[in-house]
């Protein structure tokens, strides 16, 4: 149950602070998102720049890059995911504790990008794990990563703590483990996790292109 904004402001003027459990809970969560310290390709350089003095991701409570998935809340997929690396990325995601979030940073991470038809390039990490925010760009500028981070914060802030939309860590039934693809003789097996990446309805071949 939310407090009416006008009433909240009026009470604030009188020195009374009113909130709800979900508001203060999400406020705490969104301002202390610890990303995992790992980079996959050139986007990682932009990610590093984002954390340093000029762009200063610490302003958003995300300065602590954890070298272990056990201590991280956010996975920034910064770069090309090769098919050789994809099982390890999914494994790292599985090892993160709930609540966990994913930002797919850059053209490669969201779709394979300029290397899309390459023999060793995955066509986007969202085929195996759920992605919260996609950032286009090659590479995205630090401002774009900060924008994605703020988008993620807004998403966390809006999550209800009860009901079907609640985050996975508050849902005892929710599945937090995702199948790790096998490296088989010709391709990753399975090539896509349909539960995470259902086939888009508009998957007809484009007829007026090229």
């Amino acid at each position: 149950m939310a407090v009416e904004p006008d009433l909240k402001i009026e009470l604030g003027k009188q020195g009374v602070f009113v909130t709800t459990v979900s508001e203060i809970y999400n406020w705490g969560r969104k301002n202390s998102v610890w990303p995992m310290q790992f980079g996959l390709a050139c986007c990682a350089i932009e990610m590093i720049a984002t954390t340093m003095a000029r762009y200063d991701l610490a302003r958003f409570g995300a300065e602590v890059f954890r070298p272990s998935p056990r201590q991280a809340d956010l996975m920034i997929i910064s770069g090309t995911i090769t098919k050789k690396m994809a099982p390890q990325v999914v494994r790292l995601y599985n090892q993160m504790a709930e609540p966990k979030y994913v930002i797919a940073m850059g053209a490669c991470a969201i779709s394979g990008g300029p290397f899309k038809q390459g023999y060793n390039v995955l066509k986007g990490i969202d085929r195996y794990i759920p992605v919260d925010v996609h950032i286009p760009g090659c590479p995205p500028r630090p401002e774009a990563l900060i924008h994605a981070f703020m988008t993620l914060q807004a998403k966390i802030d809006a999550q209800p703590l009860t009901g079907s939309e609640r985050p996975r860590h508050l849902d005892a039934e929710a599945q937090g483990l995702f199948p790790i693809p096998e490296q088989s003789a010709h391709d990753l097996e399975p090539p896509v996790n349909r539960l995470v990446w259902p086939l888009p309805a508009s998957s007809k071949p484009a007829e007026n292109c090229g």
Binding site: Q117, A185, C209, G210
Partner: protein, 214 residues
Amino acid sequence: MKTAEEILAAIKLALPEAGVELVLNPSPSAQHSLRLDPAHAVAVASFLRDDAELALDYCSNATGVDWPSKEVTEKVKVTKVVDGADTAVEETVKRVEPGYLEAVYHLFSMKHAHREIAGPVVLRMRTINRTDQVELPSLTPVWRSAEFQEREIFDLFGIEFTGHPDLRRILMWDGFEDHPMRRDYVDPDDYEYEPTAHDEVLKRTAEHKAGVVA
């Protein structure tokens, strides 16, 4: 930097049995290369590295080339008996040139780096075919820098380097069976969703759709 012809002459003088051939490059760059006989390749490579005049002590690049079998149409003059008299007749003959795999090495000299550099000295080695006789001698014992690049050639083209210290796949995983840089490599059919398909991708997407419907 000596020309390929001069280097060839030096090799022939030092190692008369080596069987090195000159492969001419007809393009304006005229970057001719030396084709080594695999049986003597290590001896020739050691000579190129150790010779005081050449001192090609640095292998900057090693890569592979896939030459698939191709059908060649040629016009051959054949003498035939026409109306009791020998006549020269042109006949069109088709034959299949067998394919092979090729390893290419680029060499420079660090010792003589101050001299005018016209480009790398290019070495080539060819396998017997593309299927079962794909061994070539490794030049890693001669130039240490070739190690990872020979592994890459092994991974992507399938040339097996005998004498390589650690011949494993380097880009693809160990259980992978194909060689993606070969001309006849067919990538897995995951063309189910291509929002901006064009050219080859559009064709593959259409084929995927047809396969799913059928």
